[in-house]
């Protein structure tokens, strides 16, 4: 432990890259599903939610890691919650002040970052026992793993449900039945059940490609 480790050593990079695939918080650990269903009807809120979670998780991990030798063991969960809640309120206030329309779309889900199991899980499992830099990487990595899934789900839901990507119409207007075409948006994609099914399909694809995840 005493010898100096390079900032981006192989071990540290693994903290960043593992959650993207092998230990993805959503598809492998199946955490944070609630918000993954709720904010992915369009791409933009999905991206903002991912960035918000990344900010909260990154900072919370660093703060808890810095405090890890002072936190009284009996109230450690409470300490973690206070730190998370404070950071989430900060993020919410900043969103309200500078990207009001997005904050309106996310509405209650920003507040619900507090209850996102990924965050508490990482604090308890990683930050309490590791140094700040590693904790930061772990936080960013896990949030990125969460974000990747959100963005994929958001992309397909917006494309198939509203015919647009990032708010821009990509399906030509003349294709639609109302304009004499043959195409109709799939209204089901807008609703949460299809988000769950999309996540399910992602898990299926991932498991069939990644040998490590195949259980016997």
């Amino acid at each position: 432990m005493s010898e100096k480790e390079a900032l981006f050593s192989k071990k540290n990079l693994k903290l960043l890259s593992d959650p993207l695939n092998d230990s993805n918080p959503i598809t492998v650990q199946v955490l944070g599903i609630c918000s993954a269903l709720a904010v992915t009807a369009q791409l933009k809120p999905a991206v903002v939610m991912s960035i918000s979670v990344m900010a909260v998780l990154g900072f919370a991990n660093v703060i808890i890691s810095l405090l890890r030798n002072t936190i009284p063991n009996r109230i450690r969960i409470i300490v973690q919650l206070v730190i998370i809640a404070a950071l989430v309120i900060l993020v919410d206030q900043v969103l309200k002040a500078f990207v009001y329309d997005v904050s309106k779309q996310l509405s209650v889900f920003v507040g619900l970052i507090i209850t996102n199991c990924i965050i508490m899980g990482r604090l308890e499992a990683f930050a309490l026992g590791n140094r700040p830099w590693q904790s930061f990487l772990d936080g960013v990595g896990n949030a990125a793993g969460y974000g990747v899934i959100l963005v994929i789900v958001g992309f397909f839901r917006e494309l198939l449900g509203s015919g647009s990507v990032w708010g821009y119409q990509v399906i030509p207007n003349s294709w639609y039945v109302v304009n004499g075409g043959f195409y109709e948006n799939n209204g089901m994609m807008i609703l949460p059940p299809m988000a769950l099914i999309t996540v399910g399909i992602i898990i299926w694809v991932q498991r069939s490609r990644n040998r490590k995840l195949i259980e016997n």
Partner: protein, 232 residues
């Protein structure tokens, strides 16, 4: 100090809570002006949307200053009273008895003449719904309407905030030939209603649709005296 002692735990918790509270208060105070500005801009956008003027967050203030030529407050008797129409919170007003309510009126100068805009507020299925309705100079024909909601079901009740629901309001009338207030009837396909007062309800969003109908009737009723005065 022993990290497991009660004393340490108490001191730790107290210091942490005070620090966190201080940080959050400072953040909330310093961001407040930006947040207030955002809600004001949104309100201006909504008011303008009821007279079919689309704005962006950037140009809303400019367009509002240009188009909204007059704002004032009336009471339920239709008399003009003191007050800043834009600052009035409808949620507070709706909790008062009708004769004590302050009712904001916005006058908008469009290319098609002067329009009167009344704010509305009512109850949907899951929470409050609100909006603005713009009347032509005859104070009978609807020029445009804009509705929004807090948490109606997406795809069902939430459809009240879409043009597909709002556009049919244009050109409808709120008084019948005898001069009685009928407001607008948000009707399902099998319900009969005179075509000039009828707007199609949202399938699957019946409670929101009926809530909106009630909101229109209630709030237009409170403006009825103002309308009668203005017409005479």
């Amino acid at each position: 100090m022993d990290r497991n002692s009660n004393k340490y735990t108490f001191i730790y918790a107290s210091v942490m809570v005070i620090l966190v509270a201080a940080v959050l208060s400072i953040a909330a105070m310093s961001l407040k002006p930006f947040q207030k500005k955002n809600t004001e801009i949104e309100k201006k956008q909504n008011i303008l949307a009821s007279v079919n003027i689309a704005t962006t967050a950037k140009n809303a203030e400019e367009v509002y200053a240009q188009k909204i030529v007059n704002t004032y407050v009336v009471n339920s008797k239709g008399e003009q009273v003191e007050g800043n129409a834009f600052e009035i919170d409808l949620r507070v007003q709706k909790n008062k008895p009708v004769d004590q309510r302050l009712l904001p009126v916005f006058e908008c100068q469009t290319e098609e003449g002067l329009k009167y805009i009344f704010p509305l507020r009512g109850a949907g299925l899951w929470g409050p719904i609100w909006g603005y309705i713009a009347l032509n100079e005859d104070l009978n024909t609807i020029y445009g309407a804009n509705f929004d909601h807090q948490g109606e079901t997406p795809g069902l009740g939430a459809e009240i905030s879409t043009p597909a629901f709002q556009d049919p309001f244009r050109g409808k009338t709120i008084f019948d030939a005898a001069g009685n207030l009928v407001s607008i009837i948000v009707a399902k396909a099998n319900e009969s209603a005179p075509a000039e007062h009828r707007v199609d309800a949202i399938s699957g969003g019946t409670i929101t649709s009926k809530g909106l109908e009630q909101m229109l009737l209630d709030d237009l009723k409170s403006y009825q005296n103002f309308i009668t005065r203005k017409k005479s």
